[in-house]
Symmetry: C2
Subunit: 424 residues, 2 copies
């Protein structure tokens, strides 16, 4: 049972000639052959053509992601693979073009290994994926397959997206790094929309450094790469208005982690979020439902029977939201965005739980994005730092949150935190 190395390690080995892309793809495919019957992370696998592509790259390929196999969440268009958006309506659908993020990854030398399972249109109706650590539990959603495939060592990198908590939550449940950048940092062209004000493309990786590399390439921002590992971040600890939703056992694990960060010499101080932010979670729900009802109108108006009952119900809620309520939610979000600099006064990042606790039992639900909604709404960069373990032995993640546009520092702080926590 061979997990593949990290992306940076692979690139080093390819560079120094101790690994070929072909060998790497064979490792991925072998790992998938062993594990996919249990995990079911993939909607579509491009095994047949991939070895040829790897050999081509071994002969003459180049690029910052040279030869790295990646998974692509199946709400993201691929020109050479079917894209079904997690819905039977689009079974076998072939887009006319790659999404921008896919085209940019390919251009940098990445190999698209396949499409990973998503919930229906990235809402809550689950796909077939199981949590790789306990197949009786959800991997989280909506980027279920991307999180599970990376956490299980099938592929070093994967693309996902977040509208409520669809990158950070599955990363926390599956135990890998999830990075949801500042809204708009990775272009959304060719990604199925759900809520225009919220939809954010993100990435999954085994380390923060790998996530930073991947995002830097597909956003064209070399400055995101973590070159300097000396940052001692100033940390705010926010128990947030949703803290009461954290499960006691998981809260205890987190408190212990905070103690370890303090012991390692990091400054951590409590931050109290403005009282006016109490409404932000509800505002996120309002915006998501209102915009979702419009974005999904083509399917909802012409083939409602082919949507899940769960999604139909949500879209009906969205249609019924008065536009005054939506407008108020947008204003509240804009005001909170303007206050964020003050909230993070003199701090580099905030820490909160990534999710209420370990991945819930069962596959009928994908868990609760309660700890993610606010930060998605604010458009702030968030990283799930894995490495902690809950009382059932399942992964528990810490969410690292930065200022809008301050992605490089957020990633560097996350790397520093990950290093301390992994040192035990």
């Amino acid at each position: 049972m061979t997990k593949i190395p990290t992306a940076l390690e692979i690139l080093r080995r390819i560079e120094d000639g101790t690994m070929t892309c072909e060998a790497l793809v064979r490792i991925c495919l072998q790992r998938i052959a062993e594990r996919e019957p249990t995990v079911q992370a993939w909607q579509h696998l491009e095994a047949d053509t991939l070895l040829d592509a790897a050999r081509r790259i071994d002969r003459s390929g180049t690029g910052l992601l040279k030869g790295l196999p990646i998974g692509v969440k199946d709400i993201i268009d691929t020109v050479d693979m079917p894209t079904s958006y997690g819905s039977s309506i689009y079974e076998g659908f072939h887009p006319a073009r790659d999404a921008a993020c896919v085209a940019l990854a390919r251009h940098a030398g990445a190999l698209i290994l396949g499409k990973t399972v998503t919930t229906e249109f990235a809402y809550y109706q689950p796909g077939k994926t199981h949590n790789p650590h306990d197949h009786g539990r959800t991997p989280g959603g909506s980027s279920s397959g991307s999180a599970a495939a990376v956490a299980d060592g099938m592929v070093p990198l994967a693309l996902g997206s977040q509208t409520a908590g669809s990158v950070i939550r599955p990363a926390s449940y599956c135990g890998c790094v999830g990075y949801k950048p500042t809204l708009g940092l990775i272009d959304r062209t060719g990604v199925r929309p759900f809520a225009d004000s919220l939809d954010t493309v993100g990435v999954f990786a085994r380390t923060v450094e790998d996530a930073a590399l991947f995002a830097s390439v597909i956003s064209g921002r070399p400055g995101l790469r973590i070159e300097d590992q000396s940052l001692r971040p100033q940390i705010g600890l926010s128990r947030t208005h949703e803290w009461g939703m954290a499960e006691p056992a998981s809260a205890a694990v987190l408190e212990d982690a905070f103690t370890r960060l303090r012991t390692a010499g990091l400054n951590i101080r409590e931050v109290v979020l403005p009282e006016s932010w109490r409404g932000l979670s509800e505002a996120q729900k309002t915006i998501m439902a209102y915009e979702g009802a419009r974005a999904c109108a083509p399917e909802m108006l012409t083939m409602p029977d082919r949507l899940s009952a769960k999604l139909r119900e949500f879209l009906q809620i969205g249609v019924a939201i008065p536009h005054e309520e939506y407008d108020r939610a947008k204003v509240l979000a804009a005001e909170a965005r303007a206050e964020m600099a003050d909230v993070l006064d003199n701090l580099d990042v905030l820490l909160t739980p990534s999710a209420p606790g370990e991945a819930p039992q069962g596959l009928q639900e994908t868990g609760d994005p309660a700890f993610n909604r606010v930060w998605t709404l604010l458009g702030a960069p968030c990283v799930n730092v894995p490495g902690l373990t809950g009382s059932s032995g399942m992964p528990v993640g810490i969410q690292v949150i930065g200022r809008v546009g301050d992605d490089a520092r957020t990633l560097a702080a996350s790397a520093a935190i990950a290093q301390i926590l992994s040192a035990g």
Copy 2:
């Protein structure tokens, strides 16, 4: 040569039984048969099936847009008609689904008469359309066909989009109403992206009331409809930082119009825009190029030869923009948005020229969006009010600009201004 009536007049006649949808479609098709050889507004016409659809609506149809034929800019997806985005790359391409705005228009009873000509991916490489008032002149762009078709009385309503000035400018050049709503008011799902921070779906109509009706239906905001015509708007006159670009003859026409509005009893006072706004036009250009380079990466990286030289050059500029410059432009825009309430202190709307002057001679360029960039960047609602005539006998428009989210008032003010100018 029968121009069709306004949308509201059509709906009244259909309601009281003095017009059928079938007869209406026949009028549109006849007008198109007469004029299309000269104007060339349509990329695709659905003449064959449209009479059947009209008869079905006459028998049992319903909806707020019952039986109204509309044109759809060809960067907007239609499930039953080819959508080529103004590019030979997508010739004959059939999308899997309607765009959200198209689905909502159909659901309200509208008939999609066809796809209107767009520039290439809604950038500046022109399509085949001529200005209906002088076929040696540009109709403007990028929503060239939608503006020309509505202004020429081929169809009462059409969908367009604006990233720099692609609704307001062609409406001004062709002499019809163009309404670019607050960013996001009409959902963009299924509309080809160019610049995610800027792309805004808008509408064309013969009257402000018609534009308000159309937008109200496809946004689900009944409050946009102009019921109360008694508004006496408080008006700010902004010569803007671009005023020097207005052609003298057109500037004189506008000054005369302002005098008439004053004579009719409206309060108009000069507004000086903040000095810091001087950089907004450049910021819009930076954001458009940077985001465009990412959104068009799939085509640019795999088939650059099939893009126009004009577009390729722009995308190369976009790729080369340092992300710090883009980030600064976004910050500048956010700061200006926050200042907009103060700029409009006690005013309902601002007036500026819609374009530097009459439609330029020739079909190789689509004119300059100099007077539109700032307001698109700010996400503010804008209306082109037609009715003035320049020194060459071509239409000259006034741009009415409101606060973000204040679309209902902006439309009502535009209707009041249009009424005074048309009485003149």
